[in-house]
């Protein structure tokens, strides 16, 4: 039974998405409740899968009962089990938040469509993480790209259309590049299954090096465009700043991370470290990551719009993750995977609290935060916790990931990277700290400095608080998730 849970989860999410147009006609409240129940069910079952995988080891699920040479299969390892849990947990929190927040951003006639798209989004992300097939990944990637663009454009405002269009075009160039890479891999191996193709690549690598090199190049560039890795990040600030707040949180905290999971799969499971090092890929990745870390932060400094600033900060943080991957060591990968989780939580908290400021005060400009900490104490406190985490203050999950990254860099004997890491941390402090200082310490001439009770609706407040608590808890007890990540890294490097 437990082996069928992954596919049942996917089917459940998809069926919910398909039924929403009909349940919405009954009442919108039931739709929300049904959606929440479904997400909770999926959350519990992913938790079961994780516990099962931890005790019994990874398992394969063959669709249609055909063996992996001829059919499609799911590979449920500790990596995929853990990341599906991460995706669904954050997705559930953002879903709860969005049930009120969409009133602010989306027309009433589009509520049902928004949730249809949201469930298909979760469906495709789960599919990408589970599947062990190159072409199946492409199909899910296309579902993901079309849904991500449409949860931006659903706001139906001027700037959303252009942002979504640019995002869609780049997404499609990325997908087709990835498909071209798959074609080249298929040409020399004859398999689409990642494990079988990887075995075959090890054998034919000396016969047809051109295929492997060009395929790797196209696949990495394709995924980099979608993951907003530094030179291909141009779509991200527009898309993240114009989207509805719940969509921005989803995009920045989960969707981009799922593409990085694809990248890890391609680099480590398909191609393998030996070939990567023979081609000097780690050096390229290091340069890209380091420049992304600096340039993202520098651009973020100059922004006047809060959500746009958070978007640029994401580019810098993705640089940290890529840096961890580029070290190609078990310490580096541990740091990268930990930072995926920790950045996911922090960015979600930041975007959701930013959405709360927009929801109640319509406050987007960074220079207007004076005294806001007294009017919205709880959301501002969570914003501060997440911001401190971004800077890397001890006690937050951000500190643990930066610490791990630093250790990994020292282990690889690359001192200049440590300098860049510290510089990027300082830059982070330069744009997050002023907001907090303004909010709590500066006077607002119109309002008196009396702590007010927060007027935010409960369904929006609860996810923000839960995210804040999670950041602190993971920061204080990192071993709770570190054991899973270390097991996953051991599996990837085996």
């Amino acid at each position: 039974m437990i082996e069928q849970l992954p596919i049942l989860n996917l089917v459940l999410l998809l069926t919910t998405a398909l039924m929403i147009p009909f349940t919405q006609k009954i009442s919108f409240k039931t739709t929300k409740l049904v959606g929440f129940t479904v997400l909770l069910t999926v959350l519990v079952s992913t938790l079961f899968i994780l516990l099962h995988v931890q005790s019994e080891g990874a398992f394969y699920y063959h669709l249609g009962g055909y063996p992996s040479t001829i059919g499609i299969e799911f590979y449920v390892s500790i990596l995929s089990a853990f990341f599906t849990l991460f995706v669904i947990a954050l997705g559930t929190l953002i879903y709860v938040y969005s049930t009120r927040d969409i009133e602010h951003d989306v027309y009433a006639q589009d509520y049902g469509r928004y949730y249809t798209l949201l469930f298909i989004l979760l469906f495709s992300m789960l599919g990408i993480v589970y599947t062990n097939d190159l072409f199946n990944t492409y199909v899910f990637m296309e579902i993901l790209s079309i849904t991500t663009c449409s949860i931006i454009s659903i706001k139906r405002s001027k700037k959303n259309y252009t942002a979504a269009f640019r995002y869609l075009m780049l997404n499609e160039v990325g997908s087709l590049s990835y498909l071209f890479g798959v074609a080249l891999i298929y040409m020399v191996t004859g398999y689409l299954n990642i494990d079988l193709a990887a075995e075959s690549i090890q054998q034919v690598w000396h016969l047809y090096p051109a295929n492997i090199v060009i395929a790797l190049g196209f696949m990495i560039i394709g995924v980099s465009i979608k993951a907003a890795i530094f030179p291909f990040h141009i779509w991200l600030p527009d898309a993240h700043s114009t989207a509805p707040s719940a969509s921005s949180a989803l995009l920045s905290s989960i969707v981009v991370k799922v593409y990085i999971i694809i990248m890890i799969k391609v680099l480590l499971r398909l191609i393998g470290i030996d070939i990567l090092e023979a081609l000097n890929i780690p050096v390229f990745l290091t340069i890209i990551a380091a420049s992304g870390m600096l340039i993202g932060s520098i651009f973020a400094l100059g922004q006047k719009d809060l959500k746009r600033m958070l978007g640029y900060s994401s580019i810098a943080q993705i640089g940290y993750i890529v840096l961890g991957i580029s070290l190609m060591s078990s310490l580096g990968l541990t740091a990268a995977l930990f930072h995926i989780v920790s950045h996911g939580m922090m960015k979600a908290a930041l975007f959701l609290s930013a959405g709360a400021f927009i929801f109640l005060r319509n406050q987007r400009a960074i220079n207007g935060f004076n005294g806001l900490g007294y009017q919205m104490p709880i959301s501002m406190a969570v914003f501060s916790i997440a911001g401190l985490g971004m800077i890397g203050i001890p006690g937050t999950s951000g500190f643990i990931s930066k610490f791990n990254l630093g250790v990994a860099i020292l282990d690889a004997n690359q001192w200049f990277l440590l300098v860049i890491l510290i510089m990027s941390g300082v830059l982070n402090a330069m744009y997050y700290l002023p907001i907090m200082i303004n909010a709590f310490l500066k006077d607002n001439p119109e309002k008196n400095r009396v702590m007010q009770f927060e007027k935010l609706p409960k369904v929006m407040l609860v996810p923000i608080v839960v995210l804040g608590l999670m950041i602190v808890l993971v920061g204080l007890f990192p071993n709770s998730i570190m054991s899973y990540i270390e097991a996953a890294v051991a599996m990837l490097l085996a």
Partner: protein, 127 residues
């Protein structure tokens, strides 16, 4: 002469690569949004053409089994199957981007990327 013979024998692959590059060029250089969408389509057909060419076998038969004659050579059916999926996916993306173009034209009055950028700059300057 040898080179020419090689080119003619592998014209399918070369044509596919040419289409891929032309499509990419159209997407990157043109500022007209509909032209960009056509570029994506050309790029897509280039990739699909490449994929189908991989499955071709010289002297093979179409992948429909002849039950009376068991000794025929068939082409590789897998690339064709994958590309069927791919074509429909690209059509979906095209339609969605076209509907975005309709909305962009209604709000900005133009479908040229450069002019839209000018209008946006003007607006942020006015604020």
């Amino acid at each position: 002469m040898e080179v020419l013979k090689q080119i003619i024998e592998n014209i399918n692959y070369i044509g596919a690569l040419a289409l891929f590059v032309i499509g990419l060029y159209t997407v990157v250089t043109h500022s007209n949004l509909i032209k960009r969408i056509i570029g994506i389509n050309i790029m897509g057909t280039g990739v699909f053409y490449f994929f189908v060419s991989i499955g071709n076998v010289v002297g093979g038969n179409p992948p429909i089994v002849d039950l009376d004659n068991g000794n025929l050579i068939y082409i590789n059916p897998l690339p064709s199957g994958l590309i069927l999926t791919g074509i429909v996916v690209v059509v979906s993306i095209t339609v969605y981007s076209l509907s975005l173009v309709v909305r962009i034209y209604e709000t900005y009055g133009t479908i040229d990327q450069d002019e839209i950028a000018k209008i946006i700059d003007q607006e942020t300057f006015d604020d």
